[in-house]
């Protein structure tokens, strides 16, 4: 059943892509700043967090913007996918009521749009690497890509479920907003992974943190772009940021996160297939 459903979505892949282009076009065409808007968002986050954590709180992380952006950009993709994916079916209500097509393309298109935005925003990260003359560690490219894939699949799974939930209960969106706030701060994006990790390891609970697939994505991305696991001792105190482990270890946690994401996606697809038929009358 799930396979048939996937095949159907695959047949409508051009619609998926057309919807993504529509979203991008409508967003960027009708505004004067256009594509700059998509860069403004991470830049504002960057400035605020830089001021708060580096300047005011003196977190001692050298080249903090590089570290921050490595984790923040994937997060923005994830939250963007869910924020647009949750209302995707209700927002296209007239369409859903009048034309048949696999409804899953609506939340999936929201994920696609978020992915395109992510790749546009990577230019900010690249710029920061150039500005700070920082060298990533390409050995960790594969774990980082797997980690990203895990996040995308998980975002797709949640977008599918939440888009259906939002048809039944229109205040799902509020719940998503609150959940995203909590999830953001539970993921080591603006602070270093090692801080809570060490505290948990002492109690034998270090694995808890790795259960969060977004943490895995975050630290694999940080490992790739920040290029090292600790703050360089010449400039700082040699403080540990993320696990100083091999490529294989990172590969392992990334694959685990991907497995979690794929399982969630399979379940979400089954849930969606069961509810899909009722969507037109519930809107």
């Amino acid at each position: 059943m799930t396979g048939g459903h996937l095949a159907e979505i695959w047949r409508y892949r051009e619609l998926l892509w057309t919807l993504v282009r529509r979203d991008l076009k409508v967003r960027y065409q009708s505004s004067a700043l256009g594509f700059v808007w998509s860069l403004l968002n991470p830049l504002v986050y960057l400035v605020v967090y830089y001021l708060v954590f580096e300047v005011f709180l003196k977190n001692g992380i050298d080249r903090f913007p590089v570290f921050l952006l490595s984790g923040l950009l994937p997060w923005l993709m994830f939250s963007g996918a869910l924020m647009a994916g949750t209302p995707s079916i209700t927002a296209n209500g007239s369409l859903v009521k009048k034309v048949w097509f696999p409804r899953a393309v609506l939340p999936l298109a929201a994920v696609g749009t978020a992915m395109v935005n992510f790749f546009l925003q990577l230019s900010v990260l690249v710029a920061s690497l150039v500005i700070f003359q920082w060298v990533p560690d390409p050995a960790y490219l594969v774990p980082a890509l797997i980690g990203l894939a895990a996040m995308i699949v998980l975002a797709a799974a949640l977008a599918l479920v939440l888009s259906v939930a939002n048809v039944r209960a229109r205040d799902t969106m509020h719940l998503v907003e609150v959940a995203m706030l909590v999830w953001f701060w539970l993921t080591p994006i603006v602070y270093q992974f090692e801080r809570p990790y060490q505290a948990l390891v002492d109690r034998g609970l270090g694995w808890l943190m790795l259960l969060n697939p977004l943490t895995v994505t975050t630290i694999t991305m940080q490992r790739l772009f920040y290029g090292r696991a600790d703050v360089p001792s010449a400039t700082g105190n040699g403080m540990k940021l993320i696990p100083d482990k091999s490529v294989l270890w990172y590969m392992g946690i990334a694959l685990f996160a991907l497995a979690v994401g794929v399982a969630a996606f399979a379940l979400a697809l089954r849930f969606f297939a069961r509810r899909e038929g009722d969507l037109a009358e519930d809107i």
Binding site: Y12, E14, V99, A169, R170, T172
Partner: protein
């Protein structure tokens, strides 16, 4: 050839909207009991229907009969509560033209978006793009955002995309009535082309005439049940009978003299006809109005009678009709004639008008109470709802004693597949000596 669409025991129920919790908050506050109290509304009940690939099937029913729900179930937009739906082939549904158009995108971009929604690949769309634009007749506006389109342009573009989807099964809901006459004809031509190509069409409409023209079969729905399925003539007749049953109280053939005007919707089930102008009937009689009657003679009641009145209220083409005018006089009237006019309610055109003078059957006088009957030996009308106007006037039309303007109606039902208003007696032969 197999069935293109097959419905087996399809039922569809809806929860009545207001009883459904609309938010998480409401669910929590109202708890689990919230939905248990509301009775489901059955929009479709146990519908069995098989539509062959070459068929054009019309769905007919009054508002709320379930015909649009059935079309949505066939199209997969709604899933049946019970029963199964099978369909074979690519479906394009014209339930709403231009559904999914984005106002900020240009016509060109919307063609690609709408086409993708209807299941076309971008490559297919590119190859059909010119045909779509040409069909929609909006060449010079194709790169303008559709927000600035007129509603006609909007719908033309929507129709053009949908018919160029090249579907195996085309579902149409009342959309053939959009646009001006030329465009409608173009749409109908396209539908006929589909039929020639041997494709399946399911069309929902109120227009019995349209179905007679294009449908092979008509399915009639009433209260969610399939009550008739067969050749258009038969099915349409059955539909009218159901409609008449429902409205018997409002549409009695014998009307009280001062009863309220029959609501238009009740009187004309088909075609969305309007009463049209009344002037034709009255002008012929000398611009009289009901207002300036002097009531020296009163029309007490008018009866429309025919032989089969006991079993059905409508006429079949060619059957006779008696129009009985019951009157009461205040005093003996010598200068009197009674006029009669029959108007087609679909367009307001007068079909027939006469009076006792024209008929060379002058009335000597009227006195007391009595009845004057007009016996129409045959009513050679084919189909429609017709109104009768009766006037009692002086021979020079100078005085209007009483006037009954279109208060009485009768229906003629077409059992055949011929179309039009008049039933001409036709036989077909092939003379051998030519």
């Amino acid at each position: 050839m197999g069935s293109a669409i097959r419905l087996d025991g399809v039922s569809k129920s809806f929860l009545i909207g207001s009883d459904r919790p609309a938010s998480l908050k409401e669910r929590i506050v109202r708890g689990r009991r919230s939905t248990s109290g509301s009775a489901p509304f059955w929009a479709l009940r146990d519908v069995d229907l098989a539509i062959e690939t070459w068929q054009t099937v019309g769905l007919l029913g009054h508002n709320g009969s379930g015909k649009s729900t059935l079309l949505k179930v066939v199209g997969g937009i709604l899933s049946p509560t019970k029963g199964t739906v099978e369909r074979h082939g690519r479906i394009a549904s014209l339930l709403e033209l231009g559904a999914g158009f984005h106002p900020d995108l240009t016509g060109r971009e919307n063609v690609f978006l709408n086409g993708a929604i209807l299941g076309l690949s971008q490559q297919e769309l590119r190859s059909r793009f010119d045909a779509i634009v040409e069909f929609a007749e909006i060449e010079q506006f194709i790169d303008t955002p559709v927000r600035s389109y007129s509603s006609g342009m909007y719908m033309r573009l929507g129709f053009a995309v949908a018919v160029n989807v090249d579907p195996d099964i085309l579902l149409i809901d009342e959309v053939l009535s959009v646009g001006d006459e030329t465009f409608q004809r173009k749409c109908l031509d396209r539908v006929r082309q589909f039929q020639k190509d041997g494709r399946t069409i399911v069309v929902v409409t109120h227009s019995a005439d349209l179905l007679r023209q294009i449908a092979d079969s008509v399915a009639v729905l009433d209260g969610g049940r399939l009550v008739a399925y067969g050749p258009p003539g038969e099915a349409i007749r059955s539909f009218r009978e159901h409609l008449l049953e429902r409205q018997l109280d409002r549409q009695a053939v014998v009307d009280e003299r001062h009863a309220q005007e029959i609501p238009e919707s009740a009187a004309t089930d088909a075609g969305g006809a309007s009463v049209g102008t009344r002037q034709t009937a009255t002008e012929a009689r000398g611009s009289t109005q009901e207002g300036n009657r002097d009531l020296a003679v009163r029309i007490d009641s008018i009866e429309l009678l025919h032989d089969r009145l006991a079993e059905r209220s409508y006429l079949l083409p060619g059957e006779g009709l008696t129009i009985a005018v019951h009157y009461t006089c205040r005093e003996r009237i010598d200068d009197v004639t009674i006029g009669l006019s029959i108007v087609n309610l679909a367009d307001g055109k007068e079909l027939f008008g006469t009076n006792t003078e024209y008929l060379d059957a002058p009335l000597a006088y009227l006195e007391g109470s009595g009845t004057v009957c007009f016996d129409l030996a045959a009513v050679p009308l084919l189909d429609g709802t017709f109104a009768v106007t009766v006037g009692i006037v002086s021979r020079d039309f100078g005085r209007v004693y009483d006037w009954s303007e279109q208060r009485h109606r009768f229906e003629v039902m077409n059992p055949s597949r011929s179309v039009g208003v008049v039933a001409l007696p036709v036989t077909v032969s092939q003379p051998a000596d030519r």
